[in-house]
Symmetry: C4
Subunit: 252 residues, 4 copies
């Protein structure tokens, strides 16, 4: 079995697209924002990414149908000259191990490179450990010109001299993206980190849609966050009665 | 050493067999059911599966003879036109790591694909966290037609909208099976999850044998569960006095 | 870097040797016994085994000289017709991960197969969880004839019906040895499991030397156990002040 | 993606250089010493080392610019005949897993071998578990002649009979360096192990610069240690509000 398996449903014709990543993470801000964007733009799924670095697990969806956990790539075409073609990455999980995270991000970057992606935006949450009334959007980027440009949209860039760091896919797409000569920005919404945070996702989407000249509706964001909260609770509950490591062991 | 080693004892001539998986898991429902089926059908072992993803461990059996932990494939030929040739997977352990679980399941699916397996049934337990008097059988499957068909046998399909998921081999054979174009169903017997559950295994086997037009005796199931309980206790006791990680360390 | 690196110091001419394994484990019975045998027989080191599955660690020996942790193969030639040429495996550690244990054991078995090893004895401790005055020697083996033969030397074979198992190298050489068609026996001395146990090692060596027609002196065994105890204490003490995982982390 | 990726900025012409390693570890003595040496000698970066065995993480530096965590090689040319050309290794992290540590060290040794490195000095801390007023410098080496030579500079060599060992890169470069026929010494400054220790780093640098006939200023060492302490605190604080394993999980 290959480490990372890409299954194409379609090979869309898109031109110098902008790539947007939103996987599970702090406050699920990135995931919530990216999935909302997929829905609002009616973006179309064109590739599924499977990997042995994801959990060995299928999710059961409506009507008892199963789905192997994965990451998915969607695309959306520009509606006018101010917009860009987009590729959006969403998914159930990030890789479980450090090696897995590197391998999966690098495999996706190879696809992005083939599509001549010219810019990457990774979306995430920046945990403050306390509830925040008006979440700001913080940023980090791969070069000075980009920092300058993105600052104009109200993003406050991290002054990392004192040890800020970005973990997981939101960091790796920037770090590994450099090897593919792709300019990259990470946008992080301030969040408590304690629950799924639609307010923070809204703040991030606000900035992102402004930069990309997109118009979307934010109403469903709150509803989506509630659904996610519900599923999270159910999953955590299920965790308690799920097979544990010892249940995989020898018994007779 | 290869990641997964297949040792054939025989290459049976079987026609479009149905595959049944029953490995250790919640309440050992799947293991108990599949092993009982092997015994009742006098199924014949034709392949042994070894892997570095299993524990580095040998089991000591009757007369002081050892056996390296493994998974095993059995086959049983149809006795009439209403029945199918069968391949049954049983084993001591599932893979220890996520990567291992993917690799082992995929290696076995390659064999199944060579044998033109037309349908997969994975067997397991669905933990309720409390004792259940009359365990129902819950299901999940890879396509709608299959859900409809299996429902007729009294299986209640999961409506996973709220976060149900299936972990380990019982899930992976469905998820990865899709890549081999094999229709798959998971049958889960409700169980407390606290002990080896013959009642739940019986409920699962009841449904499975009905679907596959098999006739088997259920009497030994209770005895087998008691034996497994005994061995489990012994193993847990042994665990307490077994070498710990630090015993593998440098000492002089 | 190769997973397992074999460095030959010599390619001895030995004939159908018997292989003896004694690595760290329960009560360090196997390690103590095998190292004592090496000393008493003046066995000669002919190969060093290094691996990325061992800890990333060097040991500091006399005079400040370092040694990368490893396993080592010694040989000893038969002194008369009743004896066999021997290959003895000793070492600082077993592999850290299950995969590593499989890979290292298999790599060594390839060497043994090249040397036409005709029989394997693995040595270990069988933990009883309580102090034992007169440790018995327990056994397990790969075939019935061998069980019968070894029983004559006073070994009590495990009747594993209730879940006995052998972990690590002492088990794997038996289990994987089967793939190389090598007959194998594991000899385990009963031990409390709480400290380095020279009495148990003596019991094991007693049986082994009887089977192999060897004559050795047991006096130094007690002294050796005391040294090992001392080193173990020092290492455990050192553990407390050694770099922890977080010490490998980013700091500035 | 390759396991270890080397990115050359330059291929310097250096002659039989001496290699100095200083990565994070006990009291960050080695890191502090090596980074100070890079600064004082105005050493020039010529290669960056990335690996999937490092954490999947980018660091945010001044102005919001990111950097994928890595190790880096610097070089400095001899200023007179008493000095040597130098290669210095510094970095954010050591490999996370044992396998990773072996792979990364071995990949770097391949580079060193190409540059005909004639001697290796690894720098680290030796934790005493208590504050020490006048830290001594302890040593270990790969051969007797080297021990004798280095002792002249006031280094006290470990008499490891009682179980001393060196973990991580500082140990592996010595252990694996033997396979490349490179003479190696580890210099460890005594330290409490509880905080970043400029006094211990100074003691180590004192010895090293004496051996290598280098003249450097030690004033900035204290300042640098304070900065590192500050960053460490910030990072530990951040740890508390960073995404945990479960935040990478499925949520909706």
């Amino acid at each position: 079995m290959e480490d990372v398996v890409i299954r194409y449903l379609e090979k869309p014709k898109i031109k110098e697209p902008v790539f947007i990543e939103g996987l599970p993470g702090v406050g699920n801000v990135g995931k919530l924002a990216a999935e909302h964007l997929v829905d609002e733009l009616h973006a179309k799924k064109f590739a599924e990414i499977y990997s042995k670095y994801f959990p060995p697990q299928v999710l059961v969806g409506n009507g008892g149908l199963i789905k192997l956990v994965n990451n998915e790539l969607y695309y959306s075409k520009a509606k006018n000259k101010e917009q860009n073609d987009l590729i959006i990455l969403v998914g159930d999980y990030q890789g479980l191990s450090p090696e897995g995270q590197y391998e999966i991000s690098d495999a996706i970057l190879k696809i992005l490179s083939d599509y001549n992606v010219k810019r990457i935006f990774t979306l995430g949450g920046y945990s403050l450990g306390k509830v925040v009334a008006e979440p700001k959007v913080l940023g980090a980027a791969t070069n000075k010109a980009l920092v300058k440009e993105i600052k104009k949209s109200g993003v406050k860039f991290l002054e990392g001299a004192l040890g800020d760091s970005i973990l997981g896919a939101s960091g790796l797409f920037l770090g590994l993206g450099k090897f593919y000569d792709i300019d990259s920005v990470c946008l992080m919404g301030e969040t408590s980190g304690y629950f799924v945070d639609p307010k923070s996702a809204r703040a991030v989407l606000h900035v992102l849609t402004k930069i990309l000249n997109l118009k979307i509706n934010f109403e469903e964001l709150e509803v989506k966050a509630q659904q996610i909260d519900q599923i999270t609770s159910k999953l955590k509950e299920a965790e308690k009665v799920k097979p544990k490591r010892e249940d995989l062991g020898y018994i007779g």
